[in-house]
C-alpha cells in the first residue's frame, strides 16, 4: 500500500510539473523573445533559447523618447492613489453595513451590488465630458476619481464578508476589559482583518493597473499615458513594414509585467489566505 501511494505521488508530481510547464510557457516565451533580434524572430522556425541574445530590444523600448519612465510613474501614481482611497472608503462602508443597522442600509447594499452589473463601455463619453469640465483631463486625479468609484462597490462587498467574519463578541470582551470601542476595534478586530484588506487591495490593484479603455479616452497626452496604453502603442507602432517587431514588443511586455510580479510575490500568501477567510466566514 505504501509503495502504491508513493508511485501515485510520483506520477502526480510529474503531472504537476507538466502542467506548470504549460502554464509558464507564455511567460517564458515572452522573456525568450525579448532577448532575440528582430532578424532572428522573423525566421519561420522558432528559436527556443536566447543564446547569444541581445539587450537591444530593452535599450530601444527604455529609451527616454519611448516614454516608459513617465508611463510607469503615471501608472504607479494612479494605482496608489486609487487604491488608498478605495480601500479606506470601502473599509469604512463595510464596517457600517456589517456592524450597524440603519435606515437606508438595504438600499445602499442593493445599489452596491447593482452598480457592478453596469457595463462601463457606454459611459466613456459622459465620463470624458465630466472630467474635462473639471479641467482634470490628462491628470492623475481625474482618472482616479472614476477608478475609485468603479472599484469601490466590489471592494466594499468583499470587505463586508471579512468584517462580518470577525465576531463582535471579541471586541465586546475587550471593551469589558476597559478598552474604548475604538481601542478595542484597533487592537482586536483590525489585525484579524489584515489578510482581508490585502485580498481586496490586490483585487483593486489588478482592476486599476490593467484598465486601458477608459484611460485611452481620458489620457490622450503623450506624457500622461499609463503602462497599458504605452504597451498598446508600442505594439501598434513598433513594426517593420507592417509586421510587428516582436522582440521590442516582448521586451515592453516584460517591463510592464515585472512590477506586478514583484508586487504579487510580496503579497501572495496573505492574499489567498484572505480570500479563504472572507468566503468561509462570510
Amino acid at each position: 500500500m505504501n509503495t502504491k501511494k508513493t508511485t501515485g505521488r510520483r506520477i502526480g508530481g510529474i503531472f504537476a510539473l507538466l502542467i506548470a510547464l504549460v502554464w509558464v510557457f507564455p511567460v517564458y516565451w515572452m522573456i525568450n523573445s525579448s532577448f532575440l533580434s528582430s532578424a532572428t524572430l522573423a525566421q519561420l522556425t522558432p528559436t527556443w533559447v536566447p543564446f547569444g541574445g541581445t539587450f537591444n530590444n530593452y535599450k530601444t523600448v527604455m529609451d527616454p523618447s519611448s516614454g516608459f519612465t513617465s508611463s510607469l510613474q503615471m501608472s504607479v501614481t494612479i494605482t496608489l492613489l486609487s487604491l488608498l482611497f478605495c480601500i479606506v472608503f470601502a473599509f469604512l462602508g463595510a464596517l457600517a453595513i456589517s456592524r450597524f443597522k440603519f435606515r437606508g442600509r438595504k438600499s445602499f447594499v442593493v445599489a452596491i451590488i447593482v452598480i457592478q452589473m453596469l457595463p462601463a463601455e457606454a459611459m466613456f463619453i459622459a465620463q470624458y465630458k465630466m472630467i474635462s469640465s473639471l479641467g482634470l483631463l490628462n491628470t492623475v486625479v481625474g482618472i482616479s476619481i472614476i477608478y475609485i468609484a468603479t472599484v469601490i462597490p466590489f471592494t466594499l462587498w468583499m470587505l463586508r464578508g471579512f468584517v462580518a467574519g470577525v465576531p463582535a463578541d471579541l471586541e465586546e470582551a475587550a471593551m469589558v476589559d476597559g478598552c474604548t470601542r475604538f481601542g478595542a476595534f484597533m487592537r482586536v478586530t483590525f489585525p484579524l482583518l489584515a489578510p482581508g484588506l490585502v485580498a481586496s487591495g490586490v483585487y483593486a490593484f489588478i482592476q486599476v493597473w490593467n484598465e486601458f479603455a477608459l484611460a485611452s479616452v481620458l489620457l490622450t497626452d503623450e506624457s500622461s499615458r499609463t503602462l497599458p496604453l504605452w504597451l498598446r502603442r508600442l505594439s501598434e507602432f513598433s513594426n517593420v513594414g507592417g509586421y510587428p517587431n516582436w522582440g521590442e514588443v516582448m521586451a515592453g511586455s516584460v517591463l510592464v509585467a515585472v512590477p506586478v510580479i514583484i508586487f504579487f510575490l510580496i503579497v501572495q500568501g496573505r492574499m489567498t489566505q484572505g480570500m479563504v477567510g472572507g468566503a468561509v466566514k462570510g
Binding site: 506548470a20 511567460v27 522558432p46 457600517a96 452589473m117 498598446r232 501598434e236
Partner: protein, 316 residues
C-alpha cells in the same frame, strides 16, 4: 445580529438606542458617507447621462453641439430588442461566460487537489508557475498570446504541427469565430485558473488531517471523503469564486478588444462589451449604446436575482 427574527429590521439593534447620544446614531452614516460621495462623484453624472440619453437619439452632431438630440422615448430599447444582432451577441456572451467560467473552476479545483496530493517541491513549482501567469497584466498577456498564435511564425502552430497528420503552419486562429472565441476563452482560463487554484488550495489546507484520518479508518473511499468532508468545507470559497468568474466573464471587454486588434473586428467577433463600445464611440450612436448598456444591466440583475435575494436575506 442579536435581533429576534420578528423585530422589524427598521428598528435599531439595541433597545438602549434611545439613550444613545446622537453621535452613535450618526456613526454608520458617517462611515458610509465617503464611499457614497466617491460613488456619486465618480458615477453620478455618467450614470445619469446614460439613463437620460438612452431615451434620446444622440449622434455625432449632438456631440459636436450642432444639433440638439431628439427625445425618442423607448425607441432605442425597441430597436435593440427587435434586432437579431443584439440577441445573437447576448446569447454568444452568455455561452462564452458559461464555458469560460466553468472551465476555469474545473481546472482550478483540479489543480488545487493536485497541489494537495503531490510532494512539496512539485507543489512549489506549480505554484510559482501559476503566480507568474496570474501576475501578467492583461495588455501584456494579450500581446504575448498574439505572438504565440501569430499565423506566420507563431510557436503554437509550429508545435502543433509536430503532431503527425497536423499541418497548422500559416493557420490563422482568429478567422473562424468559433476558434476566435476559443482562443479568447483559453487565454482567460489560463489567466484566471491561478487565482482559483491558489484560493481553493488555501481552503483545502483548512481541512484538518485528523478528520480525514478518522474517516479513512472508518473505511471511507477517496471519493467519499472528497464529497462528504472536503467539499462542504471548501464550498463557500467555490461559490464566491464561481460567482466572481461569471460576473467577470460576462463583462469581458479588454481581452476581446485586444484580440480584435490582432485579428478582425465587427459584430462577427463581438461580445457585449465590444458591441456596446462600437455602438457608441465607433458608430456614434450614443443613445443606442446607452440603451444597450441599460438592457445588459437589467439582464444581469435578472440572472443574478436569486443570488442577490439570498444575499439580502442572509443580511437580515
Amino acid at each position: 445580529m442579536t435581533t429576534p427574527a420578528m423585530t422589524p429590521s427598521r428598528l435599531d439593534d439595541s433597545p438602549a438606542v434611545s439613550k444613545k447620544p446622537l453621535g452613535k446614531i450618526l456613526l454608520p452614516y458617517l462611515l458610509v458617507l465617503p464611499a457614497l460621495v466617491a460613488l456619486l462623484v465618480g458615477m453620478g453624472y455618467p450614470l445619469g447621462w446614460q439613463v437620460f440619453n438612452s431615451f434620446r437619439e444622440y449622434g455625432l452632431a449632438a456631440q459636436f453641439g450642432t444639433a440638439s438630440p431628439e427625445w425618442v422615448w423607448f425607441e432605442n430599447y425597441t430597436t435593440l430588442l427587435s434586432d437579431g444582432t443584439f440577441w445573437f451577441i447576448l446569447v454568444k456572451s452568455i455561452v462564452f461566460m458559461a464555458i469560460t467560467a466553468s472551465m476555469t473552476m474545473i481546472l482550478g479545483i483540479g489543480l488545487a487537489l493536485l497541489m494537495k496530493a503531490v510532494s512539496r517541491w512539485a507543489r512549489l513549482t506549480l505554484q510559482i508557475a501559476m503566480l507568474l501567469a496570474w501576475a501578467m497584466p492583461i495588455v501584456a498577456q494579450m500581446t504575448v498570446w498574439g505572438w504565440l498564435i501569430d499565423k506566420r511564425n507563431g510557436v503554437i502552430n509550429y508545435v502543433l504541427s509536430w503532431i503527425p497528420g497536423v499541418d497548422l503552419i500559416g493557420h490563422d486562429w482568429l478567422v473562424n469565430p468559433i476558434t476566435f472565441y476559443g482562443i479568447g476563452s483559453t487565454i482567460i482560463v489560463w489567466a484566471s485558473v491561478p487565482f482559483v487554484a491558489l484560493s481553493v488550495y488555501a481552503a483545502l489546507t483548512q481541512v484538518s488531517s485528523e478528520v480525514k484520518e478518522a474517516a479513512s479508518l472508518d473505511g471511507a473511499s477517496g471519493w467519499q471523503m472528497l464529497r462528504r468532508i472536503t467539499m462542504p468545507i471548501i464550498r463557500p470559497v467555490i461559490t464566491i469564486l464561481f460567482l466572481l468568474q461569471l460576473i467577470w466573464d460576462l463583462r469581458v471587454y479588454a481581452q476581446i478588444r485586444l484580440l480584435q486588434d490582432f485579428g478582425a473586428g465587427g459584430t462577427k467577433y463581438d461580445l457585449l462589451g465590444t458591441y456596446i463600445y462600437s455602438l457608441g464611440i465607433g458608430q456614434n450612436q450614443f443613445g443606442l449604446a446607452s440603451a444597450a448598456a441599460m438592457i445588459v444591466m437589467f439582464f444581469t440583475i435578472g440572472l443574478s436575482w436569486y443570488y442577490v435575494r439570498q444575499l439580502l436575506k442572509e443580511d437580515n
